[in-house]
Amino acid sequence: MSLHPTTPQFKDNAHRALGDAQLQKALVNVRAGFMDKRAAAAARLPEFEALRDSARDIKNHTLAHLDLYLEAYAAKVEASGGHVHFCRDAAEANKAVIDICKSLGAKTATKGKSMISEEMGLNDALDAAGVKPIETDLGEYIIQLRGETPSHIIAPACHLTKDQVEGDFRRVHTHLDAARDISQPPQLLAEARAVLREKFLAADVGITGANFLIAETGTSIIVTNEGNGDLTQTLPKAHIVIASIEKIVPTLEDASQLLRVLARSATGQDMSVYTTFSTGPRRPGDVDGPEHYHVILLDNGRSSMLGSEFEDMLRCIRCGACMNHCPVYHAVGGHAYGWVYPGPMGSVLTPTLIGVDKGGHLPNASTFCGRCESVCPVRIPLPKLMRHWREREFERHLSPATQRKGLGLWAFFAKRPGLYRFATNLGMKAMALAARGKGKFSRMPLASGWTDYRDLPAPQGGTFQQQWKQKRG
């Protein structure tokens, strides 16, 4: 998918999203669905805030020694009979996956939900190589039928309503009775399950992401609510794990602490329904499991974030809480962001991965309300990181010329208090006169971004400093 970001057209994307009645209907559900559940889950656990501190510290420690933990992890995977492929970028990672598929003569690959797969554009690469990718997470399955991309990192089809999904199933599942009732979500789920069951059994390769990789044991962990991940990674001949390098944690104990904040932050569950640990291929005597076990470790620019002002972002455990609590995400949904990762975490990560020249809108399209940071399980200072992107833009003269000129003019006065007081006092009096007692302006040249949508209050006339001087000075 998204090797061609539409992020530079963010404003147009947002405009379309705001006018899309179906999307707006679906977004109401997103707004209502996640926030109360997370708040209740956090409230049920007295040590939740302490766990967030601990989660932050575990990730910080890991990032400080990432090279050591990656080597230790790789050694453990190899020792358990698996293979690790370190890949610099998406192209290398796609090639590694395709080479494995070709070596096994694979025709189809089932897939668990993976955002790294989206970042790699893996489905297109597999298709082009003659391997059919089959998404098995219900949300991913739905958007694959529609030829879309995920609009949320844990709820990829949250931009759709159930009526739309019913329509898609009727369009695609033509072998089923046209008179069947699939008007309710459980019926849609049952139908998807039945259709997917055959695909699981027929697949040659199973591809999953990883929520965590454990250095101590060489284990990959996935959490799901549907169990599709288990079938994806257990039934086929080969299991390929695709993960980015910052998914490493040192020990099982560390992973269990992070799991305690992950589901609570994401969906408000105490734990996800399935938490699955995989360590290497099937051993002699195992009743099931893949014959081959590969881990694709993708860097894709992440190592350059280490030691930079963006390092905090590498703590992210992809729970989605930031977007679930973001007023901008609530307004425009995930697709408007124009690349793989939406919401506040996407606004920080996207410029890293596609360049700030293409991704620059995203860190600017924030009110800095701070709600994302207030719910982040690993306490990533998301507004601060977005501000760092604005600083990079400013330094590189990438911010719009009108904004720079306006800011420069304002700064000229703001740095000269005497001149500022004189000019503003006159200016405000003139503006107050221009409002002619109406108390507001319905139109204002150069401020149409404001007055197109709301009235601009008129100043009372004269400045506070001037009046204070007259009355008290």
């Binding site: 404003k11 609530h330 307004a331 501000r387 400013f394 700064a411």
Partner: protein, 260 residues
């Protein structure tokens, strides 16, 4: 406090929006601070630098921070009728001087004496009630920076509960952003509009004829939207009601005798 004791000197940082758009908030804030037993001074001032800081122009923000630190050096406290500018000064000023130890120390000392108005009154001065009267219902919007950077939530409500005749009616999602975000409101006007429209819905649904908040930026945004929608909800800064100074027309409302 005994009359012999010297009153703390509070430097009122009016904020540029109050200075330019609505001086009555500055006078209301001064009255409240004086009634809490302090002396109020208004040193020459412009802007706290937040617009520059949030636009990525750290050098301008740093210059303006130094200007404010110098201007208020003689004050025991710095108080702003805004959680946004208050947050900039109390939380972000020290960040601007990373790697400059002596300036960073001054910035930290300045940050440590800086407060948002209602938090200063309640948390520092121990004010539990105000002498003001306003008969009717009002609803209160929690502005983001004050709420999440400075913990301003209970203080304005506590003070409002002491206003004679006033009944506080909570709107849904009072702690959700109004969509202002400074330059965001203009640069991404359409998205900002979607957010403030939702806020206006919640305000209207509360049934209160008056909206209060502690930040003029947010108030201008919400008042502007309600006005554009033809709503007659009276929008004011919380300080105006707490000080009993509601003589000026509300934000976006016409002068007495004028028709909008």
């Amino acid at each position: 406090m005994s009359s012999a004791e010297k009153k703390p000197v509070v430097g009122l940082f009016a904020t540029c929006l109050v200075d330019l758009m609505r001086p009555s908030i500055g006078f209301a804030a001064a009255k409240l601070i004086e009634e809490s037993g302090c002396e109020v001074v208004v040193p020459p001032q412009t802007c706290c630098g937040q617009p520059a800081f949030n636009s990525g122009d750290r050098m301008t923000a740093r210059d303006l921070a130094l200007q404010a630190i110098d201007a208020f050096s003689g004050c025991d406290y710095v108080v702003a009728p805004s959680g946004s500018c208050g947050g900039m000064m109390a939380k972000h000023y020290p960040e601007l001087f990373a790697g400059e130890p002596s300036l960073a120390k001054r910035a930290q000392a300045f940050a440590d004496k800086t407060y948002e108005l209602t938090s200063f009154l309640v948390d520092v001065r121990g004010v539990t009630s105000v002498r003001a009267r306003h008969v009717g219902q009002a609803t209160y919007h929690d502005s983001c920076s004050g709420l999440r950077e400075l913990g301003v939530q209970s203080q304005p409500r506590k003070l409002l509960s002491s206003v004679e005749g006033l009944e506080l009616v909570e709107m849904n999602e009072s702690d959700v952003c109004c969509g202002f975000g400074g330059a965001f409101a203009v640069k991404y006007g359409e998205i900002s509009d979607a957010i403030v429209s939702k806020k206006a819905e919640n305000i209207t649904a509360s049934g209160a004829p008056m909206l209060l908040a502690g930040d003029l930026g947010c108030l201008m945004n919400m008042a502007g939207k309600l006005s554009r929608q033809g709503k007659t909800i009276e929008v004011r800064h919380v300080a105006e009601v707490l000080a009993g100074m509601t003589g000026e027309p509300p934000i976006c409302a016409p002068d007495a005798g004028e028709k909008s």
